[in-house]
Every structure is written in structure tokens, then in C-alpha cells.
Amino acid sequence: MMKNKVDVAIIGGGIIGLYTAYELHKRGVDNIAIYEKNYLGSGSTFRCGTGIRQQFGDEANIRMMKRAVEKWTGLGEEINFPKFKMAQTGYLFLLYDEDEMSRFKKNVELQNSLGVPSRIISPEEAQEIVPTLDTSEVIGASWNPTDGKANPFLAVHGLARYLRENGVEINEYTEVRDVIVKGGAVDGIKTSRGEVKAEIVLNAANAWAKIINEKLGVNFPIEPYKHQGIVSEPFKKGEIKPMVISFRHGGAYLTQKANGGIIGGIALKYGPTWDLTPTYDFLREVAKNFTRIIPALKYITIIRQWAGYYAETPDHNAVIGKVKEIDGYYISAGFSGHGFMLAPAAAEGMADLITKGSTSLPLDFYDPYRFERGELREQAVQMG
């Protein structure tokens, strides 16, 4: 039987919903429930590129990601699931011209001032890190060894297992259809399996967040864009340890997974659209760009291609905060391709906000009302 009364109802069983539930539970909130219309992770988390990086170009994202990495590296032990590990194999941004170089030099300075150990390296050093790279046109690279990647399947499975063991109710195949508001405050939710009373509702539905918001007359600009990814057959492990990025090559990102296969994609996107049909154009462009970055990849076969949404906002930064119009209604969505990597910090900030009303993390940067005030952030680079 599903509970008919909870303290906090979380809409969305992706990494944001699960991690926020975990942080709330740590803070002593004990009557939490998560509602996921499909299976856990099915929305965006399981479709993501697995990358976790601190190499951003603005202070807020760098600080959030530095905190996120601290938390990602400790998560497996915290939840008694050592199988989950963040692999700190680094992010390597390949640079091909002086414009890119000066932009990344500036970013590295900012990152260093905030304690992130990134640095600009030579093409030869880049080749030492990934020996198969074609560096004939590379003039340098931005390298941070503490960036990396993690397995979203295991993150979701490990968190869900821990939460269930600790009394958090997780309802899969349960769609939230509306939020019940009485006297300007949250009173509960309507689900496909009945109504539930709730004092606080968190909208963590990412691409689907606006569907609920619109029913409540709340409007934050979050739109679904189709992005795609591929994996290859496995080959000798350790050949491509870091996430390798090249803006010159269609905004390509690629890395080897734990089993030796490549995971990656390019920036090609479609939308806004709810369609998730994979496209042949993408497959061909991936092959073209990947084989220019690492020529030997032409001998490697692609075994799977899929699509997922980037829940995009106009400045490619998430919408995180309290919804002023409705007491008890919060939102943590619209992650624009960075939800998986940001999840631990976004969750910590949101759990602080719900339990204490404030946080030391720079959540103001993701203020839901910045759009209507016309205060857009500098666009965050959307990349793995």
C-alpha cells in the first residue's frame, strides 16, 4: 500500500530526486516518498554521458561541481555500496586555436582560484595521457585530473537500495498528475494510484517539470531537446582514460567505460521535441568526428545508439529553488545536460533550503526567477 500522507513528496525518480531524498533523510526528515512515472532513472539519468567535471567557466558551477566531486567520491562508502565508485580519470579539452586557448586559460585561472587543480598542457602531454590522439592540429589542452565519470546505473541502484532500507518510500510506475494547492500552499499530490497528503512537494522531473508547473500556473522556461549517445564494443582498457572533448569536432565528447567500450556523443541536437527516435545523421557525424580525434577508432564498431533529453533553459543552467507563488513547492529541474554530475551538490543545497531555509552553496545562481527578471547567466557550455 502506498502511504497516503508524507512530509516531503518528490516528483521524479532520477538522480536528482533520489539524491535529494538521501540528503533530506540525512537531515532527519523521515517521511519521504518518491514518485516516478516509469522505472527509476528512466527519464534522463540512465541516458546521460556519465561525465563529471569541474572545468566550468563561472564561479557558481565550479564551486557546485567541486562540492559534487567531494560527495561523489565518498558516496559508495556512505551508502554501503562500494561497487559504486567515481573514476577520477580527468577531463581533457583539446584546444585548436588561440581563441579557445585564451578562453580556457581564463577558465583555468578561475578554477585554480577556487581550488580546482586544472592546468593548460602541451599537445605532447595530452598525447601522453591518450596516446592514440591525433594531435597534429592541437595547440594545447585544458586538463583536470580530478574530473572523471561514474556509472549512473549503479548510482541510482545504490541510492535506491539505501533509501528503501531506511524507510523512504519509492513508488515506480506511479505518475504524479497534479499538485493539490489549498490557500496558496501545497496540500498534496494526485497520482495515478491515488491522492497523497504532503506538506512539501519537490518537482525533480527535469524535462517533464514544466508539465506540472503549467498546471499550477507557474512558468519557468524548461524545454526538452533531443541529444544522443553511442557506445562501442569493448577494446583494451586504459586506452582512453579521461573524457576527451573537442569543440572543433562537433562538440565531441568520448571516454572508455569500465568494460572497455567507448561512451560518447556530439553536440548535435533537435528540438524542442518529445521525440526520442535516434537519427542516422547523428551516427554518421559521431563516426566522422570521433575518427578525426582518434583515427584508430575507425576499426572499432558502434553497438548501441540512443537518445535522451537535455531539459534546457535559455542560459543552460538549472532551475533550483523555492517557488514563491505556492508555499511548500520547490523545484530542482532543467539541468540542461548537467543533472547527473551536479546531483550531489544540487541535492545538498535543496535539502538545506527545505530544512533550514538557506544554504552555503551558491544556489542563487540557479534562481528560478532570473528569467523573468531578464538576468540570464552566461551560457554554461553543455558538454558531457
Binding site: L283, A287, K298
Partner: protein, 93 residues
């Protein structure tokens, strides 16, 4: 008794019957989640061998009807394709 840790269900990713049954015993009975945890159906054969076997194991252990188990998506390309082939003409040696 048969040693289920020696019975390979997924040949692409070397997943044994024991690994799958252990998950079901832990309450993970959704084939979508079993797929993500073990990587059944995600290798070069796209689940042609393992998916019907896993569905059978789930049905037997949980009492679900096999026709009620929704089979996970098959992704394109349905057969592995080398990147060099996809690049085609502009990569002749």
C-alpha cells in the same frame, strides 16, 4: 545441484544465472533495472540470446506471466558497424 555461477546467460557481457537470480532475490524484479545493473541485452547481440532467458528466469522466480514482462528497447545499429564504414567515402586509404 547445478552451479548457477557457471551458467552464462548473457554471452556478450558474461552474466551468469546466479547474478540474475541474486538480484531477483534482493527484490530487483524489473527487467529494465536488471539490464542496467548487469548489462544484459546491452552487448553486440542486443539481447537476442539473453533477454528471453532472463524473462524466463523472472517469470519462474516471481510468478509473473512471461507475456507481462515488457522487453527492453533494442537500440540501433541492430548489428555492430565499424566507425570507418559509417564515415565511408572521405576516409579512403
Amino acid at each position: 545441484m547445478t552451479d548457477k555461477s557457471k551458467i552464462i546467460i548473457c554471452r556478450c557481457n558474461e552474466v551468469t544465472q546466479k547474478e540474475i537470480e541474486d538480484l531477483i532475490d534482493q527484490g530487483i524484479t524489473d527487467i529494465e533495472m536488471i539490464k542496467r545493473i548487469t548489462h544484459i541485452g546491452m552487448g553486440p547481440c542486443q539481447g537476442r540470446t539473453c533477454i528471453p532467458l532472463v524473462a524466463g528466469i523472472i517469470a519462474r522466480k516471481t510468478g509473473m506471466r512471461i507475456e507481462d514482462i515488457v522487453i527492453p528497447a533494442t537500440r540501433i545499429p541492430v548489428r555492430p558497424v565499424a566507425m570507418g564504414v559509417l564515415v565511408g567515402g572521405d576516409d579512403e586509404e
